[in-house]
């Protein structure tokens, strides 16, 4: 891998930047791999990278039906935080947070990971209790968390409407200073490049159409580019999870919904901290390009269409203008949808299955982006050793049989 650096940019300026190598190779799939990862999104690529880096498993293909990073990793609102409620989830997201903290350097790709702080506002007494509970739990789990009152919130984000006359006045907020944002596409590209450099084959335009199983053991996949063999197949396809699961005769407790987001036209810096509100459904941050990036709610019907309803956009705009009255004259530049796969307890599945050599990583709902490195790390462990890491053991498919549910509806950014 040719290293990226300022020096490299300067040196390459003498040859018009023409000598940079491909970020990942353009390849034909081989006949057989040790591990096939389905889905070149953030989680799939991170998994491939950590398989190669942590476990020395490099005979790996990442198969992608479209292009690298075309799914949720390139459609989310780029927020990274680890302030979840339950121990199990906290440990997983905090481990991910720690990976984020050195990831640009490790991948040699500037992910623009910016720990600008994440505020979660609360607007009523019950939210206040729940927030306090979460903050307290975070602190005992070693995750930075503060509970702010209205005055402190106003000081941190003066443009917020903290008036007591608001329909739902801001009563306070939790703050995770280590939370922030990262450039979402760069995460996919950075992991892809680093995995490729370690020998992983990234195959775009290669859709998996079937999973081959013989005697309870995975033997490979059918793709639009022919059969590819492997004794281990790891699925990381988010919205298409149900489709892939059905190829292996599995039914997972997953609902898929459209989730929308939008950006404003770019403006000069106006807000530093990420602001999220659950009760008044608004969450907003400003990108380095100057756009306000805004997360909308989910559409409550199920669907794979990556198209949401306009009414959701309206509801989001109402909330944003209410929470930030100075934004009213700004203009919506673009809105889009992704699809999110949601488990009944709003926590993910990172698990072996009853089919030997078949693994699933899914159900991240609206919270997958921030987990990308951690998810890849534990998934790689699970695949390489054919057993879960203690961090993802609680997130097995079995929990829906045992009842060991990890209910994170309260900590999820988007009510589902």
């Amino acid at each position: 891998m040719k290293k990226y650096s300022l020096y490299g940019l300067i040196r390459n300026s003498f040859n018009h930047q023409e000598n940079w190598p491909r970020v990942w190779r353009s390849l034909q799939p081989k006949v057989e791999y040790d591990v096939i990862i389905v889905g070149a999104g953030g989680h799939g690529l991170a998994t491939a990278y950590y398989l190669a880096k942590e476990h020395g498993v490099t005979n790996v293909a990442v198969l992608e039906k479209g292009y690298v990073g075309g799914g949720s990793v390139g459609r989310n609102t780029t927020i990274v935080r680890s302030n979840y409620l339950w121990d199990e989830t906290s440990y997983l997201y905090e481990m991910s947070m720690k990976l984020w903290e050195g990831l640009s350097q490790e991948l040699n790709f500037n992910l623009m990971f910016s720990q600008r702080g994440v505020l979660n506002l609360f607007h009523n007494e019950q939210e206040k209790r729940d927030t306090a509970r979460r903050v307290n739990s975070n602190r005992l789990n070693g995750i930075d968390a503060e509970l702010l009152n209205t005055e402190q919130v106003k000081k941190l984000v003066p443009i917020l409407n903290t008036s007591p006359d608001a329909r739902y006045p801001v009563l306070g907020a939790s703050l995770q200073r280590r939370g922030g944002t990262a450039r979402h596409d760069a995460v996919a590209w950075g992991f892809a490049r680093a995995a490729d450099a370690r020998g992983v084959d990234i195959i775009q335009n290669c859709e998996v159409t079937g999973i081959r199983i013989e005697g309870g053991q995975v033997t490979g996949v059918d793709t639009t580019r022919g059969i590819i063999k492997a004794r281990k197949v790891a699925v990381a396809v988010a919205a298409d999870t149900s489709t892939l699961a059905s190829m292996a005769g599995l039914r997972l407790p997953i609902d898929t919904h459209p989730l929308q987001a939008l950006v404003s036209e770019p403006i000069k810096p106006v807000m530093h901290t990420v602001v999220m509100s659950n009760a008044v459904h608004a969450y907003v941050s400003q990108t380095d390009k100057g756009e306000l990036i805004i997360g909308a709610g989910i559409d409550h019907y199920n669907g794979f269409g990556m198209r949401g309803s306009y009414s959701i956009i309206e509801g989001t705009m109402e909330a944003v203008v209410d929470v930030f009255p100075i934004f009213s004259r700004l203009r919506l530049l673009r809105h889009w949808a992704g699809s999110v796969d949601i488990c009944p307890d709003a926590s993910p599945i990172i698990s072996k299955t009853h089919v030997k050599g078949l693994y699933f990583n899914c159900g991240w709902g609206t919270g997958g982006f921030k987990a990308t490195p951690g998810s890849g790390w534990v998934y790689a462990y699970t695949i390489a050793r054919d057993q879960p890491h203690p961090l993802n053991e609680p997130f097995s498919i079995e929990r829906f049989t045992t009842g060991y549910l990890i209910d994170e509806h309260g900590a999820a950014a988007v009510a589902h």
Partner: protein, 1011 residues
Amino acid sequence: MKSPLDSSRSQPYRLATGGRIDRAKPLTFTFNGKRLQGYQGDTVASALLANGVRLVGRSFKYHRPRGIVGSGPEEPNAILQVGRGALTTPNLQATEVELAEGLQAGSVNCWPSVEHDIGAINGLFSRFLPPGFYYKTFMWPSRMWKTYERFIRKAAGLGVSPKEPDPDRYDRMNTHCDVLVVGGGPAGLAAALEAGRAGARVILADERRELGGSLLDGRDEIDGAPALEWVNAASRELASMKEVRLLLRSTVFGYYDHNFLTVLQRLSTDSTSISRPLIKERVWRVRAKQVVLATGAIERPLVFPNNDRPGVMLASAVSAYVNRYAVAPGSRPLVFTNNDSAYRTVLDLAEAGIPVQAVVDVRPEPNGPLPSRVKDMGIPVIGGHVIVDVKGTKRVKGVEIMSVDASGERVEGRRRSIRCDLVAVSGGWNPTVHLHCQSGGGTRYDGEKGCFVPDAPAQEERSAGSSKGSFALGDCLGEGLEVGAEAARAAGFGDGRVSTPVPTVEDRAEEPLKAMWVAPSRRPPVREHKQFVDMQEDVTAGDIVLAAREGYDSMQLLNRYTTLGFGTDQGKLGNVNGMGVLANHLGADIESVGTITFRPPYTSVTFGAIAGREIGGLLDPVRKTAIHRWHIEHRAVMEDVGQWKRPWYYPQPGESMEDAVNRECMAARNAVALLDQSTLGKIDVQGPDAAEFLNRVYTNNWLKLGIGRARYGLMLSEDGMVMDDGVVIRHGEQHFYLTTTTGGAASVFSWLERWLQTEWPELEVYLTSVTERWSTIALVGPHSRKLLQDLDSDINFEKSSFPFMSIHSGSLAGFPVQVMRVSFSGELAFEINIESDLALAMWQALMKAGEEYDITPYGTEAMHVLRAEKGFIIVGQDTDGSMTPVDMGMGWLLSKDKDYLGKRSLSRSDCVRKDRKQLVGLLSTDGTTILPEGTQLVDDPSAGIPVPISGHVTSSYASACLGHPIALALVKAGRARKGSIIYAALRDGRHVKAEIVSPVFYDPQGERQRV
């Protein structure tokens, strides 16, 4: 030759005659602080050009000087900050802002001025700043990123956000129509006419302030007369049809599923004053049976070295400025084209008396009727040539051209310079397929026309005219009439046949264009002077090649990596050329390199307009009980509970919240108090299978509940966790009435409907929400019975005839009521259900009658304390979606004899674990500390991080009647740990010692409520 320009000094580039401006209405405005003049009918762009202003902005990355390129929503460069103070709006396109008296506009993203911009230094370093350079650097040392980022952020962004709330108002309108016609150009007008004549209800929406579309910009003739006469006639006819609605200044910006489209109508275009009492903008939400897309086409620029210099404009824009605004965008124009349509611009300029220096045509021998006409006029047409450089920095001074070799891909021969101050370019036309694509339709590349045209529609939609790739005026009119009639027929009007002949048009035949995504030049794109593909995002042909070389070689990756098409113009000019450049580089077919995703909105839409009136107090409906007014009059402090406003407590003068709550609690325990409980969800359940239905959704048994009796019930979610609770009354054999928590009312109702409709359609049960119909007043305390007995009533309130958990209907103080004996406080209590219209009067009657018992109204806080003293849970506060009834100590509510929702889940291994969290009471051992709600509980206060957590405090209060604080908590295996000590870990690091006790602190035998 006489100058064609107006002799007045104020607008040196204003043509003396023509244009659709009102010369009788001059307007003064300022640009970057300089006072200028224009006319009513101008846009800011046309007024600036009339004043000879060429440099209007700086580019995003390199801060290159930029001028106006287009005349409509495609404009990439002329991005302005308009208005002042609370009325300032960033990032408006000069081409889209109508001129107004006193308007103040300024360039964005340049400092100290647009003429002298420090940021232009970036241009010198551009060779260090290839696309995506920021991914390759700013990584060392890692802690410096925050600093680097601060500068990056400062440099980014265009205009500035207002600093004050928006004083303007916005609005929404819902409407239906048979045929929505998008675009009021020739095709759209024709379609609207036909659909309207067929009797359909038609909406015609156009983004401009007047109808006519491209006809406004040109000098076409229809039926032997100026085309605008036909437009006027059409407008008059449409205006006379009562089922036709014309929406001007109205951009259809979104096309969603089920033919739902959104339209932004600009009602006030004056940016200098608040649009009161009128509203500024309105979003029309239109559900259309049929849609006609007559959205026209946007000219495609040519990509050549230094093609971004101020003075390089779209040929169509040049025509528009000359014809529509009577402005000469230059005095020595040159035209550069690959097609015949740009020759119309040559003719327009010539007609206006502006001498065209030359036409540079990439085609070797342009010989069609239009080029021939131009040649006949003596204007030099230089075939087989391209521009290889543009001279001048802040405005065009000339071009250098070279001839194209036989391959068409390289230049050869000597460079020739031509002096000019305006370069009108045309690379062909891109049909405006945005809405078609938003609706789900695809596009295909039409090689002959050299553009992407709409493929089969995905919804009830038809394209016509230029938006379909039919650029000739006659075709636009013909297709418009056809699809208008067809759409009307499909909506149920007429027979689909066109009712009138197609107007006659003298179309000059156009020869095929030579598609060209980047003009051949002396050097390969990477090494050439910048050839801009996307001007606003500063993306060059070289950038695209570099990105593709690095592997970002499909359109989607390329867009994201280079930000091509991510500007405020949404890539209206750059996207297709970008695809072409990528295809050229890959040696691939343009269709194979991916697709452009057209996302809504078509043009940017004001946040406030989307939000409409639903902000501030109207963000969410405020729900008030029928007794609300009384609470306010009696100084209640209100609490938001869901959408409801509820009295939290009623402080008397001088009282703190604590004082008031203590007083209210003591009144309920020792005398009589009353609570407005009307916000509880109420559902009327009727039908032959009502009892069976309740039996399935509640954990306990309902078949044997006697008529006139009440019972507490728990509902579980499918995973066995407590979801909601409430009291259910049986009014009759087939008639029940159930209550839910205040917050759960809507979700429980839809939960019940979901089961009835999707899982148990065989059950005949009817649910009606009666939350607002009935109000509920809880009368609580030892004197409650006496008070009721004092009132005139036909109900016997004695214990013997009115036992606990029963209900009686009758009259109370003259009001028809249902009285229920239930208690959420542990005291003797009666809940009075009454029609909401009468509730306030009932409340007042109770207050009056209660005077002698010192009756006290109490709020939600006292209600919480009273129930916590009794260990009664609040679903959502003491439960969190992960608690089973057994965890909550309510296993006695689980029927063993029947199945119910969630039952199966309760037998799962995790649900029968012994160390699950369980509801317990907590008493701080010092007897004085109130444990903060939400505090986590630990067994070992000295444990290091991560500290093992054993539970948390869910409810915590000072108890006036007990004289010490109490708390409810969920603690692992808590019930078995009664008497043991646990520590509340406060955020300041302190630990408060607490004893685990029973959650029932008061009257554990429940004697008081049964007296």
